[in-house]
């Protein structure tokens, strides 16, 4: 047993990693074959990212062994694993936006001769790689000119340029829309053919079954099981991940649709203001969940940002309860009963270093005034009500928001709006990066909001979520509405076709 009987590209045995107070990894084993895609499944906090960081040397394991191509690897740093040929593509990329693709790929290891940069070699090498991988970019393009999916591809090119034999991808699709995922998956197939082993973390079921050859499930830092992807289906996998059967992933309720709450007519953002959408018209009803689908960059979030007063619109009309309103800033939007939960909850949802009750009360402080001072007792009691209502798991109201898990943070953002008077709740990717259990809780909450007469707009890049939760779906393509579908006419193909302008 000293040498791995088959030559695995990478093998981990009984890895233990302890953080103060937590056994983040508790005896995890893993065998990864060359030319295969190995998907790691588990809820948020199961230890997936910790495992990846132990492999690539960001963290040192407390116990356990690691073998690379059959040879044991001792203590190792990120630089060591990069040299060996293990590349990691992080969930959130931080490319240098003002630099070109080639400069990003060779960042920190620029080709030099006699102390001077060899720009010619750098650009020609990059272009060769891009051509070889069939990626339609020019090495001279700046990173800010290409999409987020493009950034992922550049990361992959970078990994290849380093001769990576194992590529770790941590939720690479979380930031890109369904259609663009195809580009990513094409590359993964190509990498497999070249004998590269891929270690892939994702939350998305459909992706798992599209690309996985083998699956390992971990839960609460422990190895649960591994096996060929063919042995699994979605229900089985989810139940292994959470340790319980989730019967209905999308608890869509039948709620009577009421009168029109919001009517948007010809909403347009002119060139000078950004020009991200044109001629947007739709109606939103009481008790309705209106899905917004489309590719990333189609302008969905931008429309919502305009409705919420973050970005300007230059033409068109918004009516709320039949009365025309002009929304110039977020406080006017909130005064009209519009609330928005952004896709980026850390940037637009929470003040991370402040505590739970400050975050929950932030948007409605004017309701908590006693003369001109704040009524701390009332803030605390109302916040506690929200924490109970939404089942937010916190040690107390004085805990900083940054200490919560993604799902609980998202609930704090929801609580912030529920504590005030909201008629129209805009949710932009409400379940992105949230584990399966919390996800279905948030879906249930959406049903609850609708039942209470709220109108909900939900942007989602996950088709199953759009199909599962929406009463109607607005599909956007290149800044315009390309179609509005009723629930009974919803199909994946139909939405996809409208998203891509019919050129599927």
């Amino acid at each position: 047993m000293r040498v791995a009987q088959e030559s695995y590209a990478l093998e981990m045995r009984n890895v233990v990693k302890v953080f103060p107070g937590v056994r983040a990894l508790d005896g995890v084993s893993l065998q990864i074959r060359a030319g295969k895609v190995h998907v790691i499944c588990g809820e948020n906090g199961a230890g997936k990212s910790t495992l990846m960081k132990v492999i690539n040397g960001t963290y040192q394991a407390d116990e356990g062994e690691m073998y690379f191509e059959g040879a044991q690897v001792g203590k190792h740093s990120v630089q060591d694993t990069m040299q060996m040929g293990i590349a990691m593509i992080y969930q959130e990329l931080n490319p240098v936006m003002e630099m070109t693709i080639a400069e990003n790929i060779f960042l920190g290891r620029e080709p030099k001769r006699g102390g001077f940069m060899e720009f010619g070699k750098m650009y020609s090498d990059t272009q060769d790689l891009l051509n070889q991988l069939n990626i339609p970019f020019d090495a001279h393009q700046k990173m800010r000119e290409i999409s987020i999916a493009g950034h992922q591809l550049v990361e992959i090119v970078k990994a290849i340029s380093m001769d990576a034999k194992v590529i770790i991808m941590d939720e690479p699709s979380s930031a890109i829309a369904d259609a663009e995922i195809d580009i990513l998956f094409d590359q993964i197939v190509r990498l497999k053919e070249q004998g590269v082993a891929i270690l892939y973390i994702t939350h998305k079921m459909d992706e798992i079954f599209r690309i996985a050859d083998e699956i390992t499930v971990i839960r609460d830092g422990q190895w649960i099981e591994s096996g060929p992807a063919g042995n699994y289906n979605a229900d089985k996998l989810v139940s292994r991940m959470v340790g319980r059967e989730i019967k209905n992933i999308f608890p869509k309720e039948d709620i009577p649709i009421g009168e029109v709450v919001m009517e948007v007519q010809g909403l347009t953002q002119g060139k000078a203001a950004g020009g991200r959408f044109r001629d947007i018209s739709f109606q939103l009803h009481k008790g309705e969940i209106l899905g917004f689908s489309g590719l990333v960059g189609a302008g969905r979030s931008e429309v919502m940002r305009a409705l919420f007063g973050i970005d300007p619109y230059t033409a068109g009309e918004i009516k709320i309860d039949g009365k025309p309103v002009r929304i110039r800033n977020t406080s006017e939007a909130i005064a009209s009963g519009v609330a928005m939960v952004s896709e980026d909850r850390k940037e637009y949802g929470l003040v991370l270093e402040r505590n739970i009750k400050e975050n929950i009360s932030l948007a409605s402080l004017k309701h908590f005034k006693k003369s001109f001072l704040l009524d701390d007792k009332q803030i605390a009691s109302r916040s506690q009500e929200m924490v109970d209502l939404l089942n937010i798991k916190v040690a107390g109201l004085d805990v900083k928001a940054e200490t919560l898990s993604g799902g609980n943070q998202q609930k704090v953002v929801l609580a912030k709006w529920l504590i005030g008077d909201v008629k129209i709740m805009i949710l932009d990717e409400p379940t992105r990066g949230i584990d399966v259990g919390a996800k279905s809780e948030i879906h249930k909450l959406m049903g609850k909001f609708a039942r209470q007469g709220m109108a909900v707009i939900m942007i989602s890049s996950e088709l199953p979520e759009i199909l599962g939760m929406s009463d109607r779906v607005v599909v956007m393509q290149a800044g315009r509405i390309s179609g509005i579908l009723e629930r009974r006419e919803l199909t994946q193909e139909g939405v996809m076709k409208l998203s891509t302008g019919g050129r599927v």
């Binding site: 953080f19 103060p20 107070g21 937590v22 983040a24 948020n44 906090g45 990212s49 910790t50 919420f308 973050i310 800033n329 977020t330 406080s331 939007a333 909130i334 005064a335 928005m340 952004s342 940037e347 637009y348 949802g349 929470l350 003040v351 991370l352 270093e353 402040r354 400050e358 009360s361 932030l362 948007a363 402080l365 004017k366 908590f368 005034k369 001109f372 001072l373 704040l374 701390d376 798991k393 916190v394 040690a395 107390g396 805990v399 940054e402 200490t403 919560l404 898990s405 912030k416």
Partner: protein
């Protein structure tokens, strides 16, 4: 990840954030009482308080600005500018009306000028998105120039005792300036901890995008903070000049440094989003004691400057290190 399990554990970063400043104060006081002759005498202690009133007041305003993630480096010159105008005004007014009335009008005028300076800073910073550092650097130079211009570069004196009472007098057993300082402390503490404005300051400083997405007009919050800062500077300027019974256009040198040091030593993060005036007042006392002890020990004044620089550097490093330790403990 798995944060719930670690919340109740002892966390040095968090502990330091809450009690660190007070701990440092206690340690310094104990050390100074033991090793520095004359330190613990009541006369010396009340001197420390008196000498640092103005710095403390400025530091209260600076706390708001620094929690917002900005900086004002113009306090020293603003003291000179507003203070000299106040002195000149007092001298004119006391000839045509009772000195008490003249003093009241002078103080109100100084407050208005302070508000004006704050309004200009706040407006330009938010309108053109200029870093506050650069804006107040310009103000600093202009204010110093203005102070020298209106006084022709020579100190102004001859103000009535009613004016000087603000810096030298007593209300009962307590010096007037200390009373003013404590009043300002109470007001700023209430504003920061008990009002919506205070919450908005923390939110904008902690995450401006999230604040805006919660319906907070962040630019208005920044403008209000600079107004408050200017108002406090106006009051401090009067106290400053009254204490020395003369309007010195070259006075107040490096006061911005002491004020900012007091804020940082008091545990307010230079990155914005956290801190409190409760820490700032302790920070101001610490800075005062360090200056006082060096004087008692006859440390060369040039060395004193060097040591001051080291102190603020240490405070900032400590802030960053403890924050990092707190983050690490969370993971």
């Amino acid at each position: 990840m798995n944060s719930q399990k670690t919340v109740n554990k002892f966390n040095f970063g968090e502990f330091y954030g809450k009690w660190g400043t007070l701990l440092i104060l206690v340690i310094i006081v104990v050390l100074a009482s033991l090793f520095v002759p004359n330190f613990i005498k009541p006369r010396n202690l009340s001197n420390i308080l008196l000498q640092n009133c103005v710095v403390a007041m400025l530091a209260f305003g600076a706390t708001f600005i620094i929690i917002l993630g900005h900086t004002n480096i113009g306090y020293g010159s603003e003291l000179a500018f507003i203070g000299c105008i106040a002195c000149l005004l007092m001298i004119r007014l006391q000839e045509i009306m009772p000195p008490a009335a003249a003093a009241v009008i002078t103080v109100i005028s100084a407050m208005l000028i302070g508000l004006g300076v704050g309004a200009v800073s706040g407006y330009i910073i938010t309108k053109f998105n200029i870093p506050a550092f650069i804006m107040t650097l310009a103000i600093m130079t202009m204010a110093r120039g203005g102070a020298l211009l209106i006084t022709n570069g020579t100190p102004v004196s001859g103000m009535d005792a009613a004016f000087n009472w603000l810096g030298q007098g007593f209300i009962g057993p307590i010096p007037t300036s200390v009373v003013i300082m404590i009043l300002l402390f109470c007001i700023t503490w209430l504003l920061l901890n008990k009002t919506a404005f205070g919450r908005h300051i923390y939110a904008v400083g902690g995450n401006e995008n999230a604040a805006v997405a919660s319906g907070i007009k962040s630019k208005l919050v920044i403008k209000k903070a600079f107004l408050l800062d200017g108002l406090i500077t106006g009051i401090a300027a009067v106290v400053f000049m009254a204490r020395q019974a003369s309007g010195t256009p070259a006075g107040g040198l490096a006061y911005e440094f002491d004020a900012i040091t007091a804020v940082v030593v008091g545990g307010t993060s230079i990155a914005g989003g956290s801190g409190n005036v409760g820490g700032t007042i302790i920070g101001a006392i610490i800075v005062g004691i360090i200056n006082n002890v060096q004087n008692l020990l006859h440390v060369n004044t040039y060395w004193q400057q060097v040591i001051k620089g080291v102190v603020i550097l240490l405070a900032i490093i400590l802030d960053v290190v403890t924050k990092r330790a707190a983050e690490k403990a969370m993971k």
